[in-house]
Symmetry: C2
Subunit: 315 residues, 2 copies
């Protein structure tokens, strides 16, 4: 098998998580079509449980833990949507969740995680401190570690959004997907590869964390050294598992500035009347910056999430 | 007949406008149910064409003009969603629209109206100046005047949202509807009266323009003298036609402050990931202020619109 994940596995993941997720709607907008010069279809993962596609990966990872290993719970470290996804998945399964969060995480995110009954451990906001805290919890509790993106069960879960998308809208010709750690982009690329191999897949990435762009150029992982972007869901770098898939199946990574992200986000809010977070607006920004690549085509965009502090907007 | 509008007329209005409007989705939110202590169903007219329910009334009024009178076009005065509704309806019918707008209308609204190809006349922002300008246009062009709310064709059109709502969610026990001029509240009350007379209907109204509250108390029209609220879609006072219906069919008008409106609006944005304007958040604010009236019930709320300047938010 060319890839570690088969179509059958993607479909099994979908069956596994289906009872616990929303089949998110696909929205269209004549006024955005006119602005973009193509026919746009938006898959609204901002309307997913926990407000982001990560519910899919988190649920698939937690539900894939063998019964006999589940009781001791799950552990992860994250300041964002993955923390909520794991906490929600653990609550769904009735098992403990231990979430390591940086002490500077927003109070909105802290209370969302706490709302799912997770036990939160706060650490300094460094990768080393977070990993050390998670390791300690694993040893002490026997909890299973759930990686945010570089994990086949997580990639499978994220890929289920594209399964629904292509089932509901089989005539799509192109897809534009945000890329941070690469779980959504890799999962989507796999689903598209199996269901409609001729679809062209683009990644959308912020300038302030453009490791996927450099990694594709160089043909090897080039992790971000520093990151600086309003797209706070896309700060992490690709992992080896996600990169291996993206390298084979993704045509191009399109890079956008924070200004372009904020403008695209505002257009979505004003014209479609839905809330997307900056990371979720990155693909639309990438499309608007590269209209000639998409002219006249049927283009699918996954609006990845809607978790944003509405009192701190970039416009 | 007890009312000027029959169920057959409401259904005819629906058939008339159906090809040109969205059947708007109904959304639910477990977290908002938990906060409110009841089972909430939100009819998303913020996702309607032009971003507001007024598309319904505008279309029904314009499409109801006899063929032989249509060619000379339509005229109205409005600074808000009704202007867009009439401009869109006229464009749909291929006839001229003359819209009188106050010269202090927001540029967003001006360009939305202009985007539908309407001819805009700017006047001083007084009722007298607006009416004079509209009258002049009627005389000069022979255009038909379309009232924003105190008109049976407009009321019929606005009532079609509740027809869909009760068809899709027939077990609703209560409805909470924003009230300004009263077109949406009167139309909704009529639809509910015919389809499910036992449903209890509440109006939600801002403190800064609470003429419906006073009019219900006094049993006669008590128009607003001054208005001051962020719910800028609800500034106008009830008309005689809307009041006659509301007086008979609406249980109670619930009044809320701007702070309560902003808090409710923020909750909808953050939990449901959709954009509602302050006026659209008034019913949910009214419900949260009066939880005991709704405890444990299935409550329908019409989110009336989503046209808001996202760079000037009340939070």
């Amino acid at each position: 098998m060319e890839f570690q994940i088969s179509l059958a596995q993607l479909r099994e993941a979908h069956e596994r998580i289906k009872p616990f997720i929303h089949r998110t709607p696909i929205m269209t907008s004549q006024s955005l079509n006119a602005i973009a010069g193509c026919e746009l279809y938006f898959k609204c993962e901002n309307l997913q449980k926990i407000g982001a596609f990560k519910a899919r990966g988190g649920l698939n990872a937690v539900l894939s833990i063998p019964e006999e290993k589940r009781a001791t719970g799950v552990v992860t470290h994250s300041s964002g949507n993955h923390a909520q996804a794991v906490a929600m998945a653990a609550k769904t399964c009735g098992i403990p969740a231990y979430i390591v969060m940086p002490n500077n995480a927003s109070s909105v995110k802290k209370s969302a995680v706490a709302g799912y009954g997770a036990q939160i451990t706060y650490t300094e906001p460094t990768q080393a401190a977070r990993e050390a805290a998670a390791d300690k919890i694993m040893v002490e509790t026997g909890a299973t570690y759930i990686s945010p993106y570089n994990d086949y069960k997580v990639i499978e879960g994220q890929g289920t959004s594209a399964l629904e998308f292509l089932e509901d809208q089989p005539d799509l010709e192109m897809l534009v997907i945000p890329v941070g750690g690469g779980g959504l982009l890799a999962g989507t690329a796999l689903s598209a590869h199996y269901l409609k191999p001729e679809i062209k897949i683009f990644g959308g990435e912020p300038e302030g964390a453009m490791d996927a762009y450099y990694s594709m150029q160089k043909g090897e992982l080039v992790p971000n050294k520093i990151t600086n972007t309003i797209a706070d869901g896309l700060l992490v770098s690709l992992g080896d598992k996600t990169f291996a898939i993206i390298q084979k199946l993704v045509s191009e990574i399109l890079v956008v500035s924070d200004k372009e992200i904020a403008d695209a986000m505002r257009l979505i809010w004003e014209r479609m009347k839905i809330v997307v977070e900056p990371s979720g607006a990155v693909p639309f920004a990438a499309l608007l910056k590269n209209k000639e690549k998409f002219a006249g085509k049927k283009v699918g965009i996954i609006l990845s999430g809607g978790n944003v502090d509405v009192s701190k907007l970039p416009f």
